[in-house]
Amino acid sequence: MNPIHPKGAVVSTTATRVIVTDRPAKRRLLRSGRPENTFQRPGQRARSRRETAAGYAFLSPWLIGFFGLTAIPMVYSLYLSFTKYNIFQPPKWTGLDNYIRLFTNDPVFVQSAEITLIYVFIGTPITMAAALAVAMLLNFRDSGAGFFRSAFYAPSLIGGSVSVAIVWRAMFSTDGPVDNGLSFFGIDIGGWIGNPAMILPMMILLHVWQFGSTMVIFLAGLKQIPKELYEAAEMDGAGAWRRFTAVTIPMLSPVIFFNLLLGLIGAFQVFTSAYIISNGTGGPAGMTNFITVYLYKRGFSDGQMGYASAIAWVLLVVVAIIAFILFRTQRSWVHYAGDDR
């Protein structure tokens, strides 16, 4: 069987693990479902049939939701992505036209993809580094960190709300509080909101501000690392940096993997803050026109449902590739407790 995680460990940090864990169960199940010999105990088949019926009864709301609201709509949207469709007239098949247009004849999409990738691949690592740094700071002492943990967590609970977007818009406007505060130190930005060069850094800053949920998960992971490991490393003459790279990082790698996976995927879905800060335009100069904003504008403002479906599928494929790469490289850098790797 699988190694047992210490109680209270971040069990769900290992999404793959769960799937892997399920395999033996499934195999066992298939075996028990199929009569292997004729000397089977009477009633066993009836019981397994009853179990299956009960399973599907409990699962029925989820099944309806999964097929009705996720699986079938996804297939439908794949079909729509090969059509021209404006919801009023029936979809017209256009083959690969939408995709060809996206990549060869739509500079707005290319820019949108670029700024989204910048936002995701710069914002997520910075957020994770900040989260880990603050988590280590909180973990430095055993007591008294509870208040700070909660205070730092608060922004990630409300960060995606319209209210916060409005606050940030006010704070980062030209001659707003942030601008004035910085000019006190002799730094003159000249406004962030209307400034194409500074709006993306500001959006990343808003992302980093929500480091709290990642930090809380890191902190739980740090608490699981046995103190003896640090003591042993110290005895061997390892300095603080060496202890960080040789003990903390490997022991934390399942948590890092989990945070990285969900962080990257989550960052692709930034919408509300960009929409509110730019008043739904994706401006200035398209610098907040993230892929989700562009998808919304194409599908719901311009009524190009087919084209927007193609954007959605490009997003899906990109996210799937990132998840695939992460799961594939996992073996080489993620260390699970109980493994001898």
Partner: protein, 309 residues
């Protein structure tokens, strides 16, 4: 990396202090510990101030008259003004503010009921029943955990539009009753798997069926997970912007986030900043109260289950 270097720094000072030939007396050790704690506390207080500044700024900004926006960027208003609140209570687009609150409340409560019920049922099937197809559907559920929601908004909109449900709450609430929040299902599966099986096996020998076991044994056992899910379902629905933006068209149906957008759009024409920030603040108040009351549940839920806020 600031805090990492901070820790390094204190480590070094410790070593330096250890250096002198005179062995460290207990009193010196205490003193060193105190200093360490003071530096630690100061660093954390600075981070707290930076992190919470936007919220504190928002609170004080609600007392600034319109004339101070763009002029007074400081924290405190020069002439405290309470008119913003009165103005916001009147509402916008001919709809009073209490109506937006009520709409948000209805949506959030419905989301809580739907999410908790349907997710618990699905989680029980995944965690406690052995049936054909379990492995495949579980993998599918994990898949939807990673699926960007934006991929399905267009087909879902077309379906709900065809059914004539646009500008009703059905497209916003129905998915919650169909366990589409994979996070909640996953969290409850994790919780149920940790529960010992002795009790439900005993109940089964006594002739209890699955529903009985679910209702009388499992649900009471996973109460902490249910509460965590309920709080998150409430807050996420309260904050949800995209769903109402897609489906609701008449102002009297709007929840708070869409009403805030009306304020935001109106103020970009150069008008009412005071009303906009005040409306933003009072929309956050229930969430902040929720957070203060249930912070332990929320933060521990995130910590133990890896649930992202």
């Amino acid at each position: 990396m600031t805090s990492a270097s901070f820790t390094d720094g204190t480590m070094e000072t410790i070593e330096q202090e250890m250096m002198p030939a005179v062995p460290a007396t207990p009193r010196r050790r205490v003193k060193r510990k105190t200093w360490q704690t003071v530096i630690w506390l100061v660093a954390l207080l600075i981070i707290t101030a930076v992190v919470l500044y936007p919220l504190i700024w928002l609170f004080f900004a609600t007392f600034k008259p319109n004339s101070e926006f763009g002029q007074n960027t400081g924290l405190l208003p020069e002439n405290p003004f309470f008119g913003n609140y009165a103005k916001v209570m009147e509402g916008i687009a001919g709809v009073p503010m209490w109506r937006f609150f009520l709409n948000s409340f209805i949506l959030s409560v419905a989301a809580v009921i739907g999410t908790v019920l349907s997710s618990a049922l699905a989680a029980y099937a995944f965690a406690r029943v052995q049936f054909k197809g379990l492995g495949i559907f579980f993998a599918a559920m994990i898949g939807t955990l990673l699926l960007p929601f934006h991929v399905v908004i267009i087909p879902q909109y077309i379906i709900f539009n065809q059914l004539g449900w646009v500008d009703t709450y059905i497209p916003l609430i129905l998915p919650k009753f169909l366990a589409t929040g994979a996070f909640f299902v996953f969290l409850m599966v994790q919780f149920m798997r940790q529960m010992p099986r002795d009790m439900d096996e005993a109940a089964r020998i006594d002739g209890a069926g699955h529903f009985r076991i679910f209702w009388s044994i499992i649900l009471p056992l996973i109460k902490p997970a249910l509460i965590t899910c309920a709080i998150f379902a409430f807050i996420w629905e309260w904050n949800d912007f995209l769903g109402p933006l897609l489906y609701l068209t008449s102002p009297e149906n709007y929840p708070l986030p869409i009403a805030l957008r009306l304020y935001n759009d109106a103020s970009s024409g150069g008008a009412d900043y005071g009303a906009t920030v005040t409306a933003s603040f009072i929309a956050l108040v229930p969430i902040l109260l929720f957070f203060i009351v249930f912070q332990r549940f929320l933060v521990d839920g995130v910590a133990t289950q890896g649930l992202k806020g």
